[in-house]
């Protein structure tokens, strides 16, 4: 099953490679991994999307907790949570396709953030599935380039991951 694991870790050089190294050394999947500093500059927050049986996910949580620089770990998928991913898509936007592309971006609540004679760059946020759906909904031959951040997640309401 797919899990989203959030963790707080010391904002130190090499901390990211400890996490990445753990996943490769123990043969765990990483679907995506995002990391950035939090409002407390000594701490980074990471969101890892992974998948595995319950036993494997339990081990992933424990092994992450075992890393000395990891402060807290939370499996967001164990409770109510919100998941968002950002995607930038550069598409061909010429002739009839130009209007159609604008319409599709509107339907998906995307924003066109860069415009040239021949292209649009569309910014889209949402769940990974929504982003996938957008890419399927438009004419694939018009896609020039895509870039996705991978999922970030946060617990709903009182579920807070903070030291």
């Amino acid at each position: 099953m797919r899990h989203i694991i959030s963790l707080l870790m010391e904002n130190e050089a090499g901390a990211l490679s400890r996490v990445a190294g753990l996943f490769s050394a123990r043969g765990y999947n990483i679907e995506s991994l995002t990391v950035a500093t939090t409002e407390d500059p000594t701490m980074s927050r990471m969101t890892i999307v992974t998948s595995g049986s319950d036993d494997v996910i339990e081990q992933i949580n424990k092994q992450l907790n075992k890393l000395i620089e990891v402060v807290q770990v939370m499996d967001l998928t164990e409770g109510e949570h919100i998941e968002r991913e950002l995607m930038l898509v550069k598409v061909k936007a010429e002739g009839a396709a130009r209007e159609e592309m604008k319409r599709m971006a509107d339907i998906f609540r995307g924003r066109i953030i860069d415009v040239t004679d021949a292209t649009y760059t569309i910014e889209l946020t949402g769940s990974g599935t929504k982003l996938d759906n957008f890419l399927q909904a438009i004419d694939r031959s018009l896609i020039l380039e895509t870039v996705r951040t991978g999922a970030s997640g946060i617990g709903r309401g009182k579920r807070i991951l903070k030291l």
Binding site: A25, E58, N65, K66, V70, V71
Partner: protein
């Protein structure tokens, strides 16, 4: 007064009470060696290869309650040390390794003797640090020692670039250390303890399965009280030997691939298993699904939450320091009114007695050729079971574990997890330095000993009168055994052609060598060796090349698929 980073490093070791540092100098650590030269509190043991420095620090740590310390230079110094570090990591040995690094400005430029030390060692250390500011040396070394010995112990590496060892700062060794992200749980959950006590007392066919955690946590005494209080059968893994007295009647031996029949069938057929600082390793329980095919309740005591339910699902998890938890469990057992089911225990012991009666460690001795088991038995008798015994890896290691009966913890020193050939001799150096008056024996084979034989030179320099018992069967015995059983007798590269004359080799290093060919001479040779108190004696026993280790649970099989010598 300001000190250089090198001086600070050595002062930290002094303030940690470090007695010995095992190391090898080189360019990146020249200033640290200079600081070492200018003091006499911390003694340096110059090895002949960095792998041996780490194994010696490891042997020192295993035989004491202290943290082993090794010092190596950058580049090849570190890469040579990696085998030793990984060995210590797999067996959770507290150790601090200090490595030199190229100057900070040169890092990343493929400088001479540069490797990414933090990167290379990351998967085989508990934690590692690259010090980038001289002001951080003292606090980093303090953290390193704290991490190495607290929680589940392990090796911690501190990488110090050369310019940092030259830069100056005020020296202040922190008294305390706290790491917000690191708080190992020491005391187990009280409800779980009570549950465990009730489960233990309701058992009809109990087994207490103890591992290296008992040794590491110095829990042998409370564990022995717990086992005796219950009167339950006890087994110890390869790493746990000596945690419970082996000569006690409640002790069933070692479980696992080369464990006794009673230990293996006890583990397999019990209804309640109390695992104490043991991790259900593949060499212990064999095939997981076969092990799980018998219903039983499992209670697991371990300081590392990640060890719980890693390979085998457990019913009651007691996360905490083994010594603390065993004491808490003992107290809880006393408060529960229930008593063990005497009738069920009698039946269980009767069953165990039948297994025991088959004497799974029996072997056919010979007057023609030396049987390796006989050598270990004689060593046990002559040293009255009181020696510190290190071993390398292979058949001799298993025979040492099977036939030397350890009644005390920290006497049996071997590389269990990683299985590192070359471990025995350097580990024995660390043990001998820690216990200069004790008898220290290294049981090895002609294959393993050659992986770190250069350390005979270190033994000469530092006058370490270790007794080396080489069970020389002219084969890489364990490889040969598997080739005989599972590869149609095709002995691919397991034969050691062109062996050196070990007696002359020992003599060349300045030691005493004895070759023993006749079984009748075994006892005399061992006695003579131990009588030579101040000399290293290398005993080259020409043993039976066809001898195999039994019992044996073949790889991937279940514990009840055990093969006995008599089966063949």
């Amino acid at each position: 007064m300001e000190l250089t980073g090198a001086e600070i490093t050595i002062r930290c070791l002094q303030d940690e009470g470090v007695e010995y540092v095992f190391g090898y100098p080189g360019g990146a650590v020249l200033f640290i060696y200079d600081a070492l030269f200018n003091q006499d509190k911390v003694k340096h043991i110059l090895v002949r290869h960095e792998q041996a420095a780490v194994h010696a620090a490891d042997g020192y740590a295993r035989s004491t309650e202290k943290v082993g310390v090794a010092l190596v230079t950058s580049g090849p110094g570190v890469t040579n040390a990696v085998t030793g570090i990984a060995t210590a990591y797999m067996d959770s040995i507290p150790m601090v390794v200090i490595s030199g690094q190229v100057p900070t400005g040169a890092i990343g430029e493929d400088a001479f003797q540069e490797v990414d030390t933090v990167g290379i060692t990351r998967p085989c250390v508990k934690h590692n640090f690259l010090v980038k500011d001289v002001k951080d040396i003292a606090s980093t070394i303090k953290k390193a020692f704290y991490l190495a010995k607290s929680g589940r112990p392990g090796p911690v590496l501190v990488d110090i670039p050369k310019d940092i060892s030259i830069a100056k700062a005020e020296y202040d060794y922190p008294k305390n250390v706290s790491i917000r992200s690191y708080n190992p749980q020491v005391k187990a959950d009280a409800t779980a303890i009570k549950q465990a006590a009730e489960l233990l007392l309701s058992a009809k066919r109990p087994v207490i399965y103890t591992g290296g955690g008992v040794i590491l946590s110095d829990a042998a005494k409370p564990l022995t009280e717990l086992v005796r209080g219950l009167g339950y059968p006890c087994v110890s893994t390869l790493m746990g030997l000596g945690g419970y007295p082996e000569t006690d009647k409640l002790f069933l031996g070692m479980p696992g691939m080369h464990g006794t029949l009673e230990a293996n069938l006890g583990m397999q057929n019990c209804d309640v298993l109390l695992a104490v600082g043991a991790r259900f390793d593949d060499r212990v329980i064999g095939n997981v699904s076969h092990f799980n095919s018998v219903p039983r309740k499992i209670i697991h005591i371990d300081i590392d939450p990640a060890s719980i339910s890693k390979r085998v699902q457990v019913d009651v998890a007691l996360v905490g320091d083994v010594k603390e938890v065993v004491k808490e469990l003992q107290a809880a057992l006393k408060s529960v009114k229930q008593k063990p089911d005497a009738a069920a225990q009698a039946d269980w012991w009767k069953q165990i007695g039948e297994w025991r009666g088959r004497n799974s460690l029996a072997y056919k001795n010979s007057t023609e050729v030396i049987k390796p088991q006989y050598v270990v038995e004689k060593l046990y008798e002559i040293t009255k079971g009181e020696a510190f015994v290190t071993s390398d890896v292979g058949q001799h290691q298993m025979w040492a574990a099977q036939y030397y009966k350890f009644d005390e913890p920290r006497r049996w020193i071997n590389s269990g997890g990683l299985g590192t050939m070359g471990f025995g001799l350097p580990a024995a150096m660390g043990v001998k330095l820690a216990h200069p008056k004790a008898d220290v024996a290294c049981i090895t084979g002609e294959g393993s000993i050659q992986m770190c034989i250069q350390e005979l030179s270190t033994c000469k320099q530092f006058r370490l009168p270790i007794k080396v018992l080489s069970l020389n069967n002219r084969y890489l015995g364990m490889v040969r055994q598997w080739q005989e059983f599972f590869h149609g007798n095709r002995y691919a590269e397991s034969y050691m052609d062109a062996l050196p004359d070990f007696v002359k080799l020992a003599e060349a290093y300045g030691h005493v060598g004895i070759r023993v060919v006749n079984p009748a001479d075994v006892e005399g040779a061992i006695k003579e060796a131990f009588a030579r108190k101040n000399e290293l004696v290398f005993m080259d026993f020409q043993t039976d090349p066809t001898e195999n280790v039994f019992p044996m649970v073949p790889g991937g099989k279940g514990l009840s698929d055990i093969i006995m010598a008599e089966d063949l």
